[in-house]
Symmetry: C2
Amino acid sequence: MPTHTLQTRESKDLPARIALSAATVQGTHLRTEHVDDWLAERARAHTFRVDRIPFAELDGWSFQEATGNLVHRSGRFFTVEGLHVTEEGEPYGDGPYADWYQPIIKQPEVGVLGILVKEFDGVLHFLMQAKMEPGNPNLLQLSPTVQATRSNYTKAHKGADVKYIEYFVGRERGRVIADVLQSEHGSWFYHKSNRNMIVEAVGDVPLLDDFCWLTLGQIGELLHRDNVVNMDSRTVLSCLPFGDATKGALLSDIALLSWITGERTRHCVRAERVPLESIPGWKRGESTIEHEEGRYFNVVAVSVRAGNREVTGWTQPLFEPVGLGVTAFLTRAFGGVPHVLVHARVEAGFLDTVELGPTVQYTPDNYAHLPETKRPPFLDTVLRAPADRIRYEAVHSEEGGRFLNAESRYLVIEADEAEAPLDPPPGYAWVTPAQLTSLVRHGHYLNVQARTMLACLNATAVRTR
Amino acid sequence: MPTHTLQTRESKDLPARIALSAATVQGTHLRTEHVDDWLAERARAHTFRVDRIPFAELDGWSFQEATGNLVHRSGRFFTVEGLHVTEEGEPYGDGPYADWYQPIIKQPEVGVLGILVKEFDGVLHFLMQAKMEPGNPNLLQLSPTVQATRSNYTKAHKGADVKYIEYFVGRERGRVIADVLQSEHGSWFYHKSNRNMIVEAVGDVPLLDDFCWLTLGQIGELLHRDNVVNMDSRTVLSCLPFGDATKGALLSDIALLSWITGERTRHCVRAERVPLESIPGWKRGESTIEHEEGRYFNVVAVSVRAGNREVTGWTQPLFEPVGLGVTAFLTRAFGGVPHVLVHARVEAGFLDTVELGPTVQYTPDNYAHLPETKRPPFLDTVLRAPADRIRYEAVHSEEGGRFLNAESRYLVIEADEAEAPLDPPPGYAWVTPAQLTSLVRHGHYLNVQARTMLACLNATAVRTR
């Protein structure tokens, strides 16, 4: 039974403790320069092999007779279905009308992505896991302490095998620092969200194989390297309640919320699930479902052999984007306070029409056929940015359990008035990282790419180039 | 072009200005004791007549051949369709399984509900409209300044007839105080939300017929009367950013957010739209679609003759609940700070599974057939509350444009440990009105009944019995 004591609504000391961890570039456990060796050792400790296979060799998966949807016979995991999207892009119904079909992943269950933290020598450390996922270009990356589907952790409740799950669910869990349902990729998932949690452990925590404790400063360093910190870690880290040390922002918080509400209102998007079989513009072969012009992504199948998982082998479909993505924030300082230019993005699978994305989030190959005037705003500014304007750069990949080699260059690029004006075009707004940190306490404001960028901005703030 | 000046993220003076308006029980325009006369005069100024009609007499509305859905031939307004809801009620898949069908209103467009405010003699006044709606038991109530569907205000953009809309949309609008997409009734609407706005006018505002300026203190007084302040006004008023004068809360804000996230995760609800024709348990007659046991609500049709609307007559369907609802917060003070007991409610039409509702929100008649042990928690405590425990009571009706005589007794009832324990059952939590005020800045946290209650708690705080 809880005590009768009132709590202060906000923790007074947490922002300072997070800032201290971010400023601590060496932890008490693994030294940053030894992380590569440790990851290589963990990779050697497990066998893990991924091979592409034709759809016919999928075990338990098949194209459903009536719909052509790709489903598992158990009804579990996820399905690949069709989506028909119609969009009236402008307010007042006078804008261009968009209409397209695409495959989409439907996976209604909500998983848990959780990072356990604990103080060592007065500094918060984060418990990270060396985890292999079939879609990762390098297979093994640093993932959250817990990365569990609902099926996983319901089993766990009955005494099964998700390590550390008891720190996140149930009455005995630790002190919650963040806990929010966040969307996943709206272009590839239909209404998918996961529970992002950060929990501070009370008492001792055993350190298991494949896990290590790192400070936020160390993770910030690793976020500068390609394909080390996985997407699930990045989205969870973006939810850390950093404090706001700045003097304000171009838009007050209510002006920002009002702008977001306006963007949600002016877009009128309908996304209807349809049978995969019937979607125009896509063709199904032996081993791929692909777009007729080779754009966007392919649906493929893989076979996985693994030695560190609850099963030793399985087959599954994956989505494979056709090119390297570019995901970038343009940044400018106003009144001495750094701002980033967010884009109110429509993605067909979002629950609530629009979420804030980075300034640029595109696969340039998909636009190569278009004349310059039709190319997405700010894309060319990002692609042509000289090296001395790049404040952050690394290649990260998206969730390796669903996406194969889904890599993007993540960039923060300093812009000027000519490239990114104080008064931006409709659909764009200047906001501070602190404002994004306030928004990300709640779901459906920042898309997963913006959350990766926010994690990089916050965790690497002390050490950007 | 905006200036380069940074804004403070939160207005420093706004909470005090709102508190002053709430404490001001007489305005500079209409005296509270003259509101009844003014409303009666406005009623006399317009003809307005509502008659029940059989579905066959609906003009432009018909039951679609293939589906039995009730639709308008223009494709506009809204449709009445079927919904099939399946719910696994408990975490870990071990709970009771609920499965039902019902009619539901589908109206994808987002309307604007806006109240214009302006300072007179140093006190904020709210511009309220005397507006008739066919479903209101007394036809005419106080509505927001603007209550416009998207079709309404897109017309407005082309120079048409929603009065005062220019203060809410477009570059010339006033200073935004609140602007958020809020859900409407999840039991009757599928994924419906409206834009709730409060805007402070800059410069003079002409006062038109059917409109009056009232302080928040005056509106608080009127909220104690039955069926005076309409639902649209109440939801908009709930979004006012009152300050927090209290010392804290039983749950810190992050503990509260985590509890909400947990409630959203543990409920697994699927709501699939189905043809209205085929829904089991409901029967269609000449003039009603009703539940076989006479429970829940009826779908009916009305003919409206009006003299103050853009058209002088129309017909439309309405939903008519079968009994008087009871909507109540239990309240207790902890550490000297008043708390209310919120309920994490599943309503089938919610966009995101669960929103916070009042402790009790039921039509008691729907549960009369159940044994006492199966009746909803806290309902009997509310129904049996002695008069000296009732801190607030009034009958309010829900949106009169869609719902016919949808009245509920709204109550705030002081409870004790035996009735409402400090450690409440699963699905319930103690929160402060200030915490609800923080949540309601964002959509999909508080359902429309909880927002009515919050408006009453905040606007009447200085004058509860």
